[in-house]
């Protein structure tokens, strides 16, 4: 038995074996709150459509026409013929080739967020010393080991680095579809401390609106920013601004933490949270500092070929 097998065996035998104590789960409260959550979801969908806060959808479907010098030109082949806010991806992503969107995100992230994170004490300069392997190196591992792009990065020991965006997906619409995106933090693949410091999420088009509301997978479409008390016991102050270039900027000031999100004309978004002083860290980054950095990040082109409308319940 090798070391791996011994560790696995010890871990399996270390599984808790005691009796399950009586449950404190209140199923009546579960259903009562479930009905409320469903009502909020319906209100969110109605509100997004009626009040026009689904500007993202509008921009997506109309922007080509807006900038089209020849109005009679048919829509581009890749223009969605459905409302992307109520669409999702049917499955998880496999990266059988180098991930161009991820590479672009990571290059920009190091350039933009690296100095910010160092200046305000979230990272040390040496945290960013690690350089990513070359594309040739990654491809060589992918071919040799028959693994996907991110597994190859892991084999090359470049995975979970500070500010490294890694792909994620989130369930949506009762598990009928997924939202896709990427997440970066101070490292270690999102451990407790890293999540407490800062987190940056890049969202691909589909399944969300640039609105504030309860986050998570109850609402569909999902909200871009959480408007509930999270970092403190107080709900944050939310602002939303549509910029001249079509981007939508949203901020949430929690007092000791900041959330900023940017929704792009192509239907993607970038959202980040930064914990300044919720545990007395005394970091002094201003909302303007963060907004400036967020607005420096480029709009990324994502593969939306598998984005499809989510069927309403029968």
């Amino acid at each position: 038995m090798d070391q791996y097998d011994r560790t696995r065996s010890a871990f399996e035998r270390g599984r808790p074996a005691g009796p399950v104590p009586p449950s404190a789960v209140d199923i009546k409260a579960v259903m009562r709150h479930g009905y409320r959550a469903e009502a909020r979801r319906r209100a969110a969908i109605g509100g997004a459509v009626v009040a026009g806060v689904a500007a993202l959808a509008t921009v997506l479907t109309l922007s080509l026409n807006t900038f089209d010098p020849e109005p009679d030109t048919p829509p581009a082949d890749d223009a969605p013929s459905f409302d992307p806010t109520t669409a999702g991806y049917p499955d998880l992503t496999e990266f059988t080739e180098p991930d161009a969107a991820g590479i672009a995100l990571n290059e920009a992230s190091r350039e933009v967020f690296g100095p910010l994170a160092v200046e305000f004490g979230f990272l040390d300069e040496e945290d960013l010393d690690e350089t990513p392997p070359s594309e040739d190196e990654v491809i060589s591992v992918m071919e040799a080991d028959g693994v996907d792009y991110y597994e190859a990065l892991s084999i090359l020991d470049y995975y979970g680095e500070p500010l490294q965006f890694l792909p994620e997906s989130w369930p949506a619409a009762g598990g009928q579809a997924y939202l896709r995106g990427y997440f970066a933090s101070s490292g270690s693949g999102g451990d407790d401390d890293a999540l407490l410091d800062f987190g940056i999420t890049a969202l691909q088009p589909g399944g969300w609106t640039p609105t504030a509301g309860p986050t998570g997978d109850v609402a569909f479409p999902q909200h871009l920013l959480d408007d509930e008390a999270d970092w403190t016991d107080e709900a944050p102050v939310i602002t939303t601004e549509e910029l001249d270039d079509g981007r939508i900027l949203m901020t949430a000031d929690h007092g000791c933490a900041l959330d900023v999100a940017v929704a792009y004309p192509n239907g993607s978004a970038l959202r980040s949270h930064w914990n300044l002083d919720c545990q007395g860290q005394g970091r002094e980054m201003s909302l303007e500092d963060l907004v400036d950095a967020m607005l420096l990040m480029p709009e990324i082109d994502y593969d939306t070929s598998r984005l499809a409308p989510v069927q309403p319940p029968e």
Binding site: Q3, R6, T7, R8, S9, A10, F11, E12, R13, G14, R15, P16, A17, G18, P19, V20, S23, V25, D26, I27, A29, V30, H33, G34, Y35, A37, E38, L92, T93, E94, F95, Y150, E151, S154, Y159, L166, P167, E168, W170, P171, A173, G174, G175, Q176, Y178, S188, G189, G190, D191, D192, L195, L196, D217, V218, A229, D230, C278, Q279, P313, E314
Partner: protein, 170 residues
């Protein structure tokens, strides 16, 4: 469209069949029955809110996914942070022979040292005995990520359990 009675009856059947398993899974992750109940209560609430849209055959897989997400979100919540600042993560209960008890305590302590995602991966793979694909579905990531998280988590465990899993050990 299901009637209110039908929906509630279906959901209560699901709850009856799977609540214990979901609570145990949540407990494996957080090591505390009170927090596990809180996680499951939130997860079931989300599940019920979406019940009319949930594919019944995939309801268990989906509920496991929600428990995973709620657990990871819990690591960010203010009250959890306060609780953790005040005390160490609770260790799991003891039962069985002395060697088994010691092993469980050591494993529980080591598991608490991993990142939430590594913890989820190892618990799903080796305690819940899910396949790589089922684990990926429960975590919302690719099979490749499950493999790399497993490898990373096992590597850390190897160091943390080194005394326990030495060749002459348990």
């Amino acid at each position: 469209v299901k009637s209110k009675e039908q929906r509630e009856a279906e959901f209560q059947s699901f709850d009856l069949a799977h609540r214990t398993g979901l609570r145990r899974y949540a407990y494996y992750l957080c090591g505390d029955w009170y927090e596990a109940d809180d996680i499951v209560q939130k997860a079931l609430t989300r599940l019920f809110g979406a019940w009319n849209r949930v594919n019944q055959e995939g309801a268990l897989q989906y509920s496991r996914r929600i428990v995973t997400n709620v657990y990871i979100t819990h690591t960010r919540l203010a009250w959890v942070r306060r609780e953790r600042a005040a005390e160490e993560l609770p260790v799991q209960e003891v039962a069985g022979g002395q060697a088994e008890v010691e092993l469980r305590l050591v494993v529980a302590k080591a598991l608490a040292e991993l990142t939430p995602r590594e913890r989820v991966t190892l618990v799903l793979r080796y305690w819940e005995q899910l396949s790589v694909e089922e684990t990926a579905a429960a975590m919302g990531c690719s099979a490749g990520t499950v493999k790399s998280q497993t490898s990373r988590g096992m590597g850390k465990l190897r160091g943390l359990l080194s005394a326990t899993v030495a060749p002459a050990g348990v």
